[in-house]
């Protein structure tokens, strides 16, 4: 049946800030939905508080509200927009919970808004564990034995133990966990009840150690159901799937067993009453007894949907949006082939392995023990023709220099594959046969380590890999969409390299300090280069992102962002230039090696980076330009450090040399606290200074300041964790011209071309330079949204050689209103994670606007969904923090 013509406008709710358990996969899904629904002629309104998302860019929706994701402000958006429908299934648990709240409050009924994609009853059947359990049993499906508890008094004495506690309506299993003993169970229930917004937990028979599988189901209004992808967890039951190594398609189930899961997944979706779109069903399976139980089901697009989408090429979010407005699967084409129908199940001729990335070292109080509560901050996907190849790519993509992960209870198949990898290394050691090792899937870095040679030596000896397409049909049909991976076999035919191709290197897995902001920059660069008539090619391994969507770039290589893979992509693409300055540290780390191998880096960024990072050179430059900076020195020993500290004066900021992201950085107030374990930088620490973040464009001759952010916290708190306001109350016209003057000297002095970020301290009316980074910063999307200037687009033109003059920028831009940014911390999982310090710990950010700095800041704090994180507040902004009561009620689109 064709789409419903009674729907003319739809509201989409995003998922807010990046948190553990809810990351940029919902930017990917929301952007797809916005685009496809607008293309269908619907008016799309969007509400999201996360400025780093692509979906909150002006061109994605007809009206974009950058507002707190709470029922009150979404209700105001609804009252203003009066949409015909609300699509709640693409914004993660946040959007689903909000939709339920708005339905319960009567807001939807009052304004005649229909929930599409999933209705209230279906959401409740899936989310309320008691109801879900009964619905599954009624459908003849197995579920673990369980009891629902809303207070500790209700806990039956015969409750099975070990047991898993699962709180209702929480993200990423927050507050849940496995309890081995009765006392542990009582404690776990206590925590779970606190975490659940409805104070309800499910205490469930533990199926720990069983195999865990997930099926991604798509259904339409005609009752058609397909499984887009099966996913097998390498970690058995007991470890949250977000923390598990997973592989798609499933590897270890015989067909008959797999078909049981498929039948059960459809039965579960139908019993819950999933109206249309994507759903994720999780199973536990005991292979010896062949017991199969349904663990849970999400009646929405999920993290696994993003993974399934990237693993298969099947655009789950896009189709979910189209199905929600009434289309049926058979009416929609398979975009990848352009010919066949979307009503099919992708056939893979490769393996997709996902590895989780943990940043436990950031959180000294985290146990590092995996359980049913998700702790991973990001993930990398590896595609290969064999399990070892895909697994090793995912391992590389995590950028953790990991050896094999320890996975207790691994299935014998995976054990055999791990053993095969060890054997391949042994064989290589004996035979020195690089060609066989590469065919097997060993990365250059491993081959080099085994043979005791350099990666360049390995490269010189090996052939180049073939390019294979992710085509959703195992080569049965010709693929139209250019989505690729590399492997050492006869690749698909390649067209001659296009003239003027630009390769943009992505930022790899999300992590603390490097997240969606850089993906935003990369996606903007793709769009910019395309508009300038170039082919834009993306290389990235993060399956959650918009940049790895099949139709974002001209060609996508889903590969780890390593020297090896980037050089291989360059060999195929013969690029005009490679962009290394928009993806955070991941591409920068390999920039020098790429340049050494003869790859043209767009904008020639290395000299400027070196000038900014080499403290000696940077100090000389500042001296030459007459720019002030905190006093500093380098120390190899404690004695040297003490000498430097005495000279610059306490307190001092001490950090290991050549470490980024504030790792191991601390403030030392006196000699007795001063310890160093490695060569370190000792900087004068400016107490009670105001910190300013400046994002600007530079063409080597001149600089153009896009925005000056004033930090709410005093200098010393990591800039990624600071709240900030633009325009800042301390940035008087006098300070502003001082900043512009400084920027105009410093950025050209560095020889930067493109984006530059400066961190300045304002103390006693003097400006001091803390840091300069000639690359995209974390605040670029925020500034771009606050001012409406497409910063990355301009930066791309500069990198191609344009001058600032040619960009015809206005002399200065003003923010569209006062905007504030607040950081969001994983303190719900890691104790102490919200203690702001010199080391970054936040996972995401929110944006709030208002008429005054105070109002904007209060709105951002409200959007962060809790009171202020701990840590002191800067002198000029004290008043902001002391009046966090948010009164603004006028909700207007940030852009429309």
């Amino acid at each position: 049946m064709p789409r419903r013509l009674d729907l003319e406008s739809v509201l989409i709710i995003g998922s807010g800030p990046i948190r553990i358990g809810q990351a940029c996969e919902f930017d990917y899904s929301g952007s797809q939905a916005c685009r496809v629904l607008r293309a269908e002629g619907l008016r799309v309104a969007l509400v999201n508080s996360n400025p780093a998302t692509i979906m909150t860019d002006p061109e994605w929706a007809d009206a974009t509200y950058i507002e707190p994701l709470d029922a009150e402000s979404v209700a105001q958006v609804i009252a203003r927009e009066r949409p015909d429908a609300l699509l709640p299934t693409l914004g993660g648990q946040t959007a689903l919970n909000l939709a339920m709240e708005l339905a319960a409050d009567g807001v939807l009924a009052e304004h005649g808004v229909e929930l599409i994609g999933a209705d209230v009853d279906a959401i409740r059947r899936a989310e309320d564990r008691l109801v879900f359990r009964d619905v599954m049993r009624d459908a003849g499906l197995g579920v673990p034995h369980s009891v629902i508890v809303t207070s500790l008094d209700e806990l039956p004495a015969d409750t099975p133990c070990p047991a898993v506690v699962r709180p209702a309506f929480t993200l990423g299993g927050k507050g849940g966990g496995l309890a081995e003993t009765w006392d542990g169970l009582v404690e776990q229930i206590r925590q779970g009840l606190d975490a659940s917004p409805i104070n309800q937990v499910l205490v469930e028979q533990s199926v720990r150690g069983w195999q865990e599988f997930e099926l991604e189901v798509m259904s339409d209004a005609a009752g058609n159901c397909v499984v887009v992808c099966s996913i097998e967890n390498l970690d058995p039951m007991g470890v949250h799937t977000g923390d598990s190594w997973t592989v798609a398609p499933q590897q270890t189930l015989p067909d008959a067993a797999y078909q049981r899961l498929r039948d059960a997944a459809f039965a579960a979706a139908r019993a819950v009453g999933v109206a249309t779109g994507g759903a994720n069903v999780q199973f536990a399976y005991e292979p010896d007894t062949e017991e199969l139980v349904v663990i849970e089901m999400n009646p929405r697009v999920s993290r696994s949907s993003a993974l399934a989408s990237k693993a298969t090429g099947f655009p789950i979010a896009k189709l979910a949006a189209l199905l929600a407005i009434g289309y049926t699967l058979d009416e929609l084409p398979n975009d990848i082939t352009g010919k066949s129908s979307a009503a099919f199940e992708p056939a893979l001729d490769y393996v997709a392995v996902k590895g989780p990335r943990f940043d436990f070292e950031k959180f000294p109080l985290a146990s590092g023990k995996l359980g049913t509560e998700m702790q991973a901050v990001g993930e990398a996907l590896g595609l290969g023709r064999t399990f070892p190849e895909a697994f090793l790519k995912a391992l590389e993509g995590l950028e953790k220099n990991l050896d094999f992960p320890e996975i207790p209870g691994l299935h014998p198949y995976f054990e055999a594959e791990f053993e095969a990898i060890r054997e391949a290394e042994d064989t290589l050691r004996a035979s020195r046969d690089v060609a066989s090792a590469k065919r097997f899937g060993l990365p250059d870095s491993r081959v080099a380590a085994v043979l005791g040679v350099s990666e360049a030596d390995v490269r010189a000896e090996r052939s180049t890999p073939g390019r294979l397409a992710v085509d959703s049909c195992a080569a049965e049909f010709e693929a139209r969409t250019p989505y690729f991976y590399l492997s050492y076999e006869d690749g698909d035919p390649t067209e001659p390299a296009a003239d003027g191709t630009v390769i943009i290197l992505g930022s790899g897995p999300n992590r603390i300090g490097q997240g969606i902001e850089f993906d935003y920059c990369c996606v903007h660069a793709v769009q910019a280069f395309q508009r300038l008539g170039h082919d834009a090619v993306m290389v990235n391994s993060n399956p959650e992102t918009v940049s790895t969507d099949y139709d974002t770039s001209d060609r996508l290589y889903l590969e780890p962002v390593t020297v090896e893979r980037v050089l291989d992509v360059c060999a195929i693409e013969q690029p005009l230039g490679v962009v290394v300055t928009l993806g955070g540290q991941t591409p920068l780390r390999i920039a020098e090696a790429l340049a050494a191998a003869g790859v043209p880096l767009l904008g020639d960024p290395l000299p400027a980076i070196e000038a900014a990072e080499d403290r000696g050179k940077f100090g000389e430059l500042l001296d030459r330009l007459g720019i002030a900076a905190p006093r500093w020195g380098v120390a190899d020993t404690r004695d040297e450090a003490l000498a430097v500290a005495a000279e610059v004066g306490y307190p001092v900021l001490v950090r290991p040399h050549y470490v980024l992201g504030g790792r191991g950085m601390r403030v030392v107030y006196g000699p007795e606290e001063l310890e160093i374990r490695e060569p370190s930088l000792v900087d004068q620490f400016l107490e009670e200074a105001i910190e300013l973040d400046v994002d600007l464009l530079c063409d080597r001759e001149n600089a153009w300041v896009a925005g000056i952010l004033e930090h709410v916290e005093p200098a010393g708190v990591h800039s990624g964790d600071s709240a900030c306001v633009v325009p800042g109350p301390s940035v008087t016209p006098e300070v502003e011209s001082q900043v512009r003057e400084l920027a105009s000297a410093l950025a050209p002095g560095l020889g930067a071309r493109g984006l530059v970020n400066l961190q300045l301290a304002l103390k006693d009316r003097e400006l001091l330079v803390i840091e300069a980074n000639p690359r995209a910063s974390r605040t670029v999307p925020f500034i771009a949204k606050a001012t409406g200037v497409s910063l990355v687009h301009h930066a791309c033109r500069l990198m191609l050689g344009a001058s600032l003059e040619e960009l015809q920028l206005p002399e200065r831009v003003h923010p569209t209103r006062v905007w504030a940014k607040e950081a969001v911390f994983p303190d719900d999982r890691f104790p102490g994670a919200a203690d702001r310090s010199a080391e970054m710990k936040s996972t995401g950010e929110v944006m709030g606007g208002g008429d005054t700095a105070s109002a904007a800041y209060a709105r951002a704090v409200r959007a962060a969904g809790r009171g202020r994180a701990r840590g002191s507040v800067g002198p000029s902004l004290q008043q902001l923090a002391e009046s966090p009561r948010e009164r603004s009620t006028v909700v207007e689109p940030a852009h429309a």
């Binding site: 005609a222 009752g223 058609n224 397909v226 398609p249 499933q250 590897q251 270890t252 189930l253 015989p254 067909d255 008959a256 797999y258 078909q259 498929r262 039948d263 049926t328 699967l329 058979d330 010919k339 066949s340 129908s341 009503a343 099919f344 199940e345 992708p346 056939a347 893979l348 001729d349 490769y350 393996v351 023709r385 064999t386 399990f387 198949y413 055999a416 065919r439 294979l468 049909c473 195992a474 080569a475 049965e476 049909f477 010709e478 076999e489 006869d490 690749g491 698909d492």
Partner: protein, 350 residues
Amino acid sequence: MHEAQLVLEDGTTFSGRSVGAHGTSTGEICFTTTMAGYQEAVTDPSYHAQVLVFSYPLIGNYGVADERVESDRVWTRGVIMRRSRPAWSGWLSERDVVALDEVDTRALVRHVRSQGAMRCALGAGSTDDLLAAARAEPHLDYERGVGESLLAPPLAIDAATRDSYVVGEGKAVALMDFGCKRSIIQNLVDRELRVTVVPPTWTADQILETKPQAILIGNGPGDPAQLGDSVDTIRGLVGQCPVFGICLGHQLLGLALDMKTYKLPFGHRGANHPVRVRKSSRVLVTVQNHGFAVDPGDRAEVSHVSLNDDTVEGLEGEDFFSLQFHPEAAPGPHDALPFFDRIAETCQGA
């Protein structure tokens, strides 16, 4: 394990590693996109005289088990894989099946997709010897085989039972065997039917004498155009008793209804083929394994259509109903299982 290769009749070669029986083998190359169910696939009699390429690169991951076979022998003449696991390779060796792994199967699938089905030879021989063997292999399609005087004997006769036998209890159904998969018979037995499996040589009268409430024409290998006698038999059955067909059975029914059949460029083999049921507009994800298809001309009895290429996937009339795909799955999705309920209902109602 030895170096070995696959040589196609057009001279294209693919290198690999011999992981099955020693020696060489010949057949018609075809590929399946099914990701699991390798043991079911190679024991499916419809693969008789064919060399099967698995497009999914990891085969043998979950080992082998006796209950996963669709007949009592392996029918594929050869198996081509990217990466095989030891237990599975061993199982093939024990059954004297020539098998290669470490083949660039994606490139091979692409070649077959664009150049069409063709004869091939595989094993440890020289390229020249293998090419000669490939070119000496009889053709599976009737027209080309007759044209080049190099036609394979009717494969279905080879794959079918010689003697009739009975399984199950209940209402009577006759199953015309052309190399029927075990799961088809099992699905009938599970629905409380008494199945008389009859060889293709039986006449219509012989079959009707078993007093069936319904007749099912099973799957099997080869070109339906080669089975003229069976088509005549079926023509004699339509109208006498409800007739059902699966795969080759569906094609034979089409011929009996005076439709035509033709060879597809490279066939449909996989577990993800979408088919629209015309009556309900519902889509079934189906299991397919066929190299020939029915051309209905201007006949209106087409009940199912492929969403991939619009080919005929089902025929339905007052007293016949047939599917080009495999409702018994094994391996693959169960979407079309209700076909067997329909047979059971027909028997119960009669």
